[in-house]
Amino acid sequence: MTRLTDLPPAQAKRLAELECPDFATRPWATGSALSQRRVAIVSSAGLVVRGEDPFRGRDADYRVIPSTTRPEELLVSHISINFDRTGFQEDWNVVFPLDRLRELAAEGAIGSVAQTHYSFMGATDPVQMESHAREVAGLLKGDQVDAVILPPV
């Protein structure tokens, strides 16, 4: 199962036809070479550090994931059950590639890795997430981040 066409037809149709926001603006931020960028992960997998509150349904807020988080501390609390979790169970980098970012920083391919990463719950209405996303933008800029990778699940 690797493409939308491999999903059960009803699920594929629902995903393909899901209503998506139609933004009026087309923002475009530029920056320095990748080798100088400070990179953060902002996931929409409903990630939560063990011991903190999982996302309840379609909560629109976010969870904080410090760079010091260990693989055994990260859980997925996304509301949907219609995606594979066994990959994440074996290796958190399938969803949250913090080890890969550290390697890229050590190799000089990127400048550095952010001190803090964030997660939303991606099935939430994006309009409800907007104020929280802008708040996260402020926190990222406070950490000198100038590049963000946005993995879904």
């Binding site: 923002p27 931020a29 902002v42 309840r56 859980l75 979790r85 399938v94 994006p126 993995p151």
Partner: protein, 243 residues
Amino acid sequence: MSALGHYLEEEGLATVAISLIRPQTEKTKPPRALWVPFELGRPFGPPSDAAFQKRVVLAALRMLERRNGPVVIEDFPDDDPRATQDPTWRPPFGPAAVNARSADSLAARLEGEILQLQDAHERWVAQRRRTTVGLSGLPISECARYVADWLRGKAPPSPREGFSAPLILRFAVDDVKAYCLEAAAAGAAKPSSRQLGDWFWNESATGAAIHVLREVLQASDDDRLKLIVANFMVPAARVRSAG
């Protein structure tokens, strides 16, 4: 997700989204997105394949240096090599003859199976140094008991402040699923998600119990409970017709 990219970019942060569902990304029109041909749940592809994952991460991050935007959507060219079945994998034990549809007997079998998988799960934790069991906040034996008690018709109260009983039931189901799937994947073989899912949903007593729990609780008068059990316990592709 692509909408988050829009908001962050408006705040001056350069973003690149990973896209698993290209039609959604085409509609949202994020500044930059890399579509990947991987299974839902695996945005960076195969587990335990650092080189492949790094190629995906780097392909995405390199899009930050493009000057031909906004709205650049590219495709990652390679499939997930772990999407194929591993013929050497064997489930932790044979099919659990789960023809019985009595909720009480399935509840007992669920609790028994969780005990039976303990050694395999300990091997998993020793091998991977992690477990993703923990959303409910309950030890696994209590998770199993909580789910089993719902199956027995007891409707136990929530043991966690701030979380309703139906929500804890959902998380407890997530935890027993994770426990079984991790136990089943312990060892040297590299089963695909489909192999693991086929075993869990078609052969394990726990999978059979969750199927029946979903059917039984949909007769409840509690609309919130019905919503949760209908949509957030058995994957849509695994739902079976009642009867």
